[in-house]
């Protein structure tokens, strides 16, 4: 127990820092970390390892508070072999130095697991190590910012005499000297601090685009040249302080943007899904090896539910491969011995033995997730509005600046350069480009608090344009919980129930999951052999000497089960039935009454006026009446649909002009989720979703759907509003700047001020909208364990 462990080592202080009642994690199933001690894994995951001392950075998803930081950095008090610990809280990482000859890597992982901080050792960690290597981006920005700030401050200092109008007194040598020093200070700013802008402008111009950076670099260039001219000819002091200030404020704006994006980014890393190890079969037996180790010709074992790590050819076993992640089609494909099994598929049958025909390419697996087949068409409307704005903005600004400069030159006011550069600098496209990301990012964050996790900005935008909702029935509208489940038949002994549980646990089907949930835990010793699952029909397996069948009536019939009750008795029951047979004889039936989620009726009532509604189901229509009471008699309901038929239904709706959001549980709906404009995957436990979905919704949060959609629509309005503000600011700024009376420093300050205002407006209005939609208070469901 966690408390005993902490108390033993005098770390009761942990509880002083944590409020009582915060769940201290129970050590769940004991995970096997033994594979961490293999030399190859050590080499890959440990930052440093000399056999005596080792250093490792581990990702701990359950790190959530100051007490966790406190505890993890005092790990040395719990186990002597830990030398030092340092936590990076925003990244949820701990960096540990430990004596690896006293405490093995697996022992360390086990210790963390015991304390409730099970390390996340999936592939995400490997890919994030390469991400860490590029974290210096933030450092580069900080360095540039430092140089710009340094130069800015010192340039203002050097220009002090000129501010006070003291040139005449100080004499020309000092003036010349100060001018030279100013130039020397300004050069690093232009060359180094502003380098990102030069590069971006050049890249854009090479392709013939007038990117947003072009006016900025033109402004910088103009300021520099004019100032240099003035200093060399002694006609003035130049604008180098404004130049440095301009770059400084630009970089600050960029820094803020970066930090906000980091906070808003979609954390769920899909690469975390893939298993990192596979079971290799060799003469010496079975061993667990990292998938990179798998060589051509080696044999591996693929268990039910496991992902195929590389292209293989099937040697032994009945293959039923689900390629939902590769093709989006979730109908399992049957494979026989001699057939190819491609990487990324998931075995849904029993045990397989396969031979590697192509080495693992982890990049391939990762690319499956980012594959274009999962990318949806870019959103109409808003995204293009931002793009359009960017495209005409720059030429307009250049024209305006040129006009202003030319007019002043023609009128001989002597302020041509001031006007030209001021217009270039004051026009700020940043706000136009920021409205959408900030609004959508904030909205996504709010939705995330209420358990709807959107994939990205583009998905948010599409969500705001939906006009038709399609619901799946099983698992979405109905619970997959065993409440009210009943059993009829011969009483089962404990071992028999455990045997049933063992078979049921091997399947991912909701019916099996429900059954497994209500049965007692399987006995550790018993093993399951000859497992087979036919989707939609049933499962079978051998436990010890008993043959067990679980499934539909037809399933048991096909296995010639004796003593099956006649079908008429049960057909008028409204519950889903699962029949069980042992050793060829029918034993009993489990009834799972449909448990609808709470709050559905109000949800449908609020949705009906604004959206077209449909319900699709793979089941028969025995629950039609109940659904009609819930959702209204006029709702469009279709039953007995295969996954492919669901997809076709969505296509038909889209052909009729609807923009569809599909809400399903991801198991049988992968194709339909992909086809819809927005695919929302409803889960009870994260991990059962498909990458074709755009959002993940916690089952308990489903009744809040009307409010979510409301927020999505309002955020669209907010974006337009913010863009309007930005345009107004620009018009005002350019008009004043063109008179040539606006000092470059003021322009430089106005630019980030406008960005900050628009960003603040976007965020503030979104929060206000959330309040109006009824999403203001913290959610009332219990914290997820």
């Amino acid at each position: 127990m966690v408390f005993a462990l902490l108390h033993e080592h005098g770390l009761d202080g942990f509880y002083k820092l944590q409020k009582p009642g915060t769940p201290a994690r129970q050590a769940g199933e004991v995970l096997n970390y033994a594979w961490l001690d293999t030399p190859e894994t050590r080499q890959r995951l440990l930052d440093y390892d000399d056999g005596v001392t080792a250093r490792v950075s581990l990702h701990l998803p359950t790190l959530h508070c100051a007490a966790c930081v406190w505890l993890l950095e005092r790990l040395s008090l719990i186990h002597n072999a830990v030398v030092q610990g340092r936590v990076n809280f925003p990244r949820r990482q701990v960096s540990l130095v430990f004596k690896i000859n006293d405490l093995s890597f697996s022992g360390l992982a086990g210790l963390l697991h015991q304390l409730g901080y099970a390390p996340d050792l999936s592939m995400a960690q490997d890919s994030s190590r390469s991400k860490n290597a590029s974290a210096p981006d933030g450092r580069k920005l900080a360095a540039r910012l430092g140089v710009a700030g340094f130069a800015f401050g010192n340039l203002m200092l050097l220009n002090f005499p000129f501010y006070l109008g003291l040139e005449a007194e100080t004499g020309s040598t000092l003036t010349r000297w100060l001018g030279g020093a100013s130039l020397a200070l300004a050069l690093p700013v232009v060359v180094y601090s502003a380098s990102d802008y030069w590069k971006a402008a050049w890249r854009g111009l090479k392709r013939g685009w007038l990117v947003l950076e072009v006016p900025i670099v033109l402004g910088i260039g103009a300021l520099l040249l004019r100032s240099a001219y003035e200093i060399f000819t002694q006609t003035g002091e130049g604008y180098l302080d404004s130049l440095a200030g301009l770059v400084f404020f630009l970089l600050i704006g960029r820094w803020f943007q970066q930090r906000t994006y980091e906070a808003l980014s979609f954390e769920r890393d899909f690469t975390a899904y893939f298993p990192m190890n596979a079971t290799r079969i060799s003469e010496s037996g079975e061993s667990s090896v990292p998938i990179d180790e798998l060589a051509l010709g080696e044999r591996i074992l693929i268990r039910h539910g496991e992902i195929i790590p590389a292209d293989t050819v099937l040697i032994k076993g009945q293959g039923l491969i689900d390629y939902a992640f590769v093709t989006g089609e979730s109908d399992p494909v049957e494979k026989q011995s001699g057939d190819c099994l491609f990487a990324g598929g998931r075995q849904t049958g029993g045990l397989l033995e396969a031979e590697i025909i192509r080495p693992v390419r982890r990049s391939y697996l990762t690319s499956l997730w980012n594959d274009d087949t999962f990318a949806k068409a870019p959103a109409q409307g808003l995204a293009r509005l931002s793009d359009h704005a960017a495209r005409w903005f720059t030429p307009l600004v250049l024209i305006a600046a040129a006009l202003a400069g030319w007019w002043h030159a023609a009128a001989g006011t002597g302020r041509a350069v001031e006007a030209f550069t001021a217009v270039l600098i004051v026009a700020c496209p940043c706000a136009l480009a920021l409205s959408a990301p900030f609004t959508l990012g904030t909205a996504m964050r709010i939705l995330g608090r209420f358990r709807l996790y959107m994939k990205d900005d583009a998905a948010m935008e599409r969500l705001s344009q939906i006009n038709r909702l399609v619901f799946d029935k099983t698992g979405t509208l109905s619970h997959s919980s065993p409440r009210g489940a009943t059993y009829e038949g011969r009483p089962l002994r404990l071992e028999e129930q455990q045997a049933l549980a063992l078979v049921a646990r091997s399947s991912l089907h909701p019916g099996s999951r429900q059954l497994a949930d209500m049965l007692p835990q399987p006995h550790g010793q018993a093993t399951l052999k000859e497992f087979e699952e036919v989707p939609g029909r049933g499962i079978r397996g051998m436990v010890g000497t008993h043959r067990i069948l679980i499934g539909s009536r037809a399933w048991l019939q096909s296995a010639e089960t004796a003593a099956l009750p006649s079908s008429t008795e049960k057909s008028d029951r409204k519950s889903a039935q699962t029949l069980v047979a042992m050793d060829g004889v029918f034993v009993g039936t489990y009834f799972f009454p449909a448990t609808w989620r709470t709050g559905l009726r109000t949800m449908f009532e609020s949705l009906r006026p604004r959206f077209g509604l449909s319900i699709l189901s793979g089941d028969g229509d025995h629950q039609r009446l109940e659904l009609e009471t819930l959702a209204g008699a006029d709702i469009d309901m279709t039953f007995a649909l295969s996954p492919q038929a669901k997809l076709d239904h969505i296509r038909r709706l889209q052909a009729g002009g609807a923009r569809v959001a599909m809400i399903g549980d991801g198991l049988n709906d992968a194709g339909a989720l992909k086809q819809s404009e927005i695919g929302i995957s409803v889960t009870e436990s994260a991990g059962a979703f498909s990458p074709a979905c755009d959002a993940i919704l916690d089952g308990e949060a489903l009744p809040l759907l009307p409010r979510f959609l409301d927020l999505a629509r309002r955020s669209r309005t907010i974006i337009l509003l913010c863009m309007g503000c930005s345009v107004a600011y620009n018009l005002l700024g350019v008009s004043i700047a063109s008179t040539g009376r606006l000092s470059p420093v003021v322009c430089a300050i106005l630019m980030p001020v406008s960005s900050v205002t628009v960003a603040a407006l976007a965020v503030g209005l979104t929060h206000l909208a959330a309040r109006r939609c009824g999403l203001q208070t913290a959610p009332s469901f219990p914290e997820a364990v």
Partner: protein
């Protein structure tokens, strides 16, 4: 006013030294994580009599 350039040179020198220190700190990753130290402050070392004064 001959002293003025000398003074300015010295002050610029000093400022440059600070800039160098800032760049060094950035390069050695001291600005990587600006949030965790705020959490570390909350912990109480007195609770553990055997704990040495905390590292850096």
């Amino acid at each position: 006013m001959n002293i003025l350039p000398i003074l300015l040179v010295i002050s610029l020198f000093l400022a440059a030294a600070f800039l160098a220190a800032f760049l060094w700190a950035t390069r050695t990753g001291q600005f990587e994580d600006t949030f965790s130290p705020s959490l570390r402050v909350l912990g109480d070392d007195e609770m553990n009599p055997e704990n040495q004064p905390s590292k850096d």
